[in-house]
Symmetry: C2
Subunit: 153 residues, 2 copies
């Protein structure tokens, strides 16, 4: 029984370390946000825009997993700050294409660069063999967990 308890404790420590690292990464993102005068939600929207290109608000709502109403508010803020514009959709007059401005594209590029810098600072010193194990365990764990969440639903 004592062995079982120790076992649980060890696994919990591993989870705690994952959460700690995730907290540190979020703190780094918060610094980026302060520097750019953006919020987490707006940066997330810009990030999606950087991946997907100009998108309808409907598509953004799905990608961000928030309501369309919420996207209206986020886009309003990003229009005010000059990061995006609402362009007419060429084929559907109901929809708008949220499109990064020059300033928005610069912010997205900075975000990508900052993300890469962080990856380098975090992992560049880790011996490659250990990093490979680390990456594999991450991938397997995430996949297993996604499967479990799916089954539970």
């Amino acid at each position: 029984m004592v062995k079982y308890i120790h076992h649980m404790t060890d696994l919990t420590v591993v989870l705690d370390r994952v959460l700690l690292l995730s907290t540190l990464v979020q703190a780094d993102l918060a610094r980026f946000e302060r520097d750019e005068g953006l919020t987490t939600s707006r940066v997330h929207l810009l990030w999606v825009l950087g991946q997907a290109g100009p998108s309808t608000q409907q598509a953004l709502a799905v990608a961000l997993d928030v309501t369309p109403r919420n996207v209206t508010g986020l886009v309003d803020g990003l229009v005010t700050s000059g990061h995006v514009t609402r362009e007419p959709h060429p084929a559907d007059r109901r929809a708008t294409l949220v499109t990064p401005t020059e300033k928005g594209r610069r912010a997205i590029a900075d975000l990508v660069r900052s993300h890469e810098d962080l990856a380098q600072r975090l992992f560049d010193e880790v011996p490659r063999e250990r990093l490979a194990v680390f990456a594999e365990v991450l991938e397997e764990t995430a996949a297993r967990f996604a499967r479990l969440m799916e089954e539970a639903r």
Copy 2:
């Protein structure tokens, strides 16, 4: 140069996987919150209370890294939902001791159990040698990063 780019890309993929796993863990926490009728911030406060025992709002503000005013609001909500009470501080009549109720203690216990369950679901199937490498890389990375953040400040 191509090699350098590949190198960057690999490290970025590792970071992406950390972020993905962290997203999944947060989704699991969100499920817990919905079940208990709590929010992330209030769960965080309860968690701290579970670790530290009855605390002044001042101490909670420091632990949560938010303003005292914010703690007032969070505690108001948790008093309304019946998870905590404000007890007089025995030695300082300015201060209150935020104290979990029976319901609050049950929620904290559920939270701890849910955390342990998650750790088990995530990591129990990982071979112990690989898990050890994983945990070590996590710890070293977090420590190195914390040091870098400290220097940058």
